[in-house]
Symmetry: C2
Subunit: 175 residues, 2 copies
């Protein structure tokens, strides 16, 4: 099997394991991994705007909004509109939020954590730097995303079954 296929498989397994752990966390601690990460970020800063959080935990702002909606509904955080600049919205932990966050497990598999920490120092840094390299190689492409690609294939995509394009990968259409 080709190297890159093996890389792909390993990556998918890592992604899946992370997701499965998040669900387990949710059952055991009542918080998913992203929820916990966001709570931790807020706890460490005191107050944060959506944008701050998005940058900090590497997700889009829209995602932060929906996660905060759930956390707010459960009374774990509060939102407050900025006074100086009313476009901003600051998130704070409530006591309940601080409480649950402090007793929750880590957002990374505990099994993984303990295994990882048992490795020799050089092994840890080898793994870390490999991950960072992969991340860097992947993000590099984003920076100068090519706007121009051959879209010939796209026009042919939905010939079958006719009208219903649930997909909408193309231009606007209701005029």
């Amino acid at each position: 099997m080709a190297r890159h296929d093996e890389v792909l498989i390993a990556l998918r397994q890592i992604i899946r394991a992370t997701d499965l752990y998040s669900r387990k966390l949710s059952k055991v601690a009542g918080l998913t991994a992203p929820q916990l990460l966001i709570l931790q970020a807020i706890a460490s800063q005191g107050e944060m705007t959506m944008g701050d959080i998005a940058t900090e935990v590497s997700v889009s702002q829209a995602t932060v909004t929906t996660i905060l909606d759930r956390l707010e509904k459960r009374g774990l955080i509060e939102r407050k509109r900025g006074e100086r600049d009313k476009r901003r919205v600051y998130a704070y932990l409530t006591d309940a939020g601080r409480d649950i966050m402090e007793r929750a497990p880590t957002p990374l598999q505990d099994e993984f954590m303990s295994r990882f920490s048992r490795l020799e120092d050089w092994e840890q840094s080898l793994i870390l730097s490999s991950l960072q390299r992969v991340a860097a190689m992947m993000n590099a492409g984003d920076i100068d995303a090519s706007p121009v690609l051959d879209l010939g294939a796209i026009d042919r995509i939905q010939p079958a079954a006719g009208r219903r394009r649930t997909d909408s990968s193309f231009e606007t259409d209701q005029k």
Copy 2:
């Protein structure tokens, strides 16, 4: 910053980059990464059941069902109920499916791929084996963890000595 926090950050960046690429793929080629992976799996086998596909690409059966629903709606695959065993449902590529699949890019960032392939051989294998180790360390947890939860799955997990199944803890050994 602690090592494991850095690991966590790198992982989230990788996960996000993978997701973003999938969306870009969807715009450019009309297929998301999982859709493409599933199409490729079917193409290589000729016909597959949901369970086969789930095992092959490392996702749950329910996920396969929803993805195939979309592919079927677009006329890229067809389902056919098994004749011998009517519980089974086989998925086949249509001509349109074969066509689009063949002209689609790889399911891994091309940017990443080309950078990766430009690395020295030893570097590639270092990175690959780091990823595999991380995957293994994460999946290991699945097997013997889950203390509090009632799991019917547990009885199906035989106390394997050395052999590690890198995938989900409870794949049915269909064969």
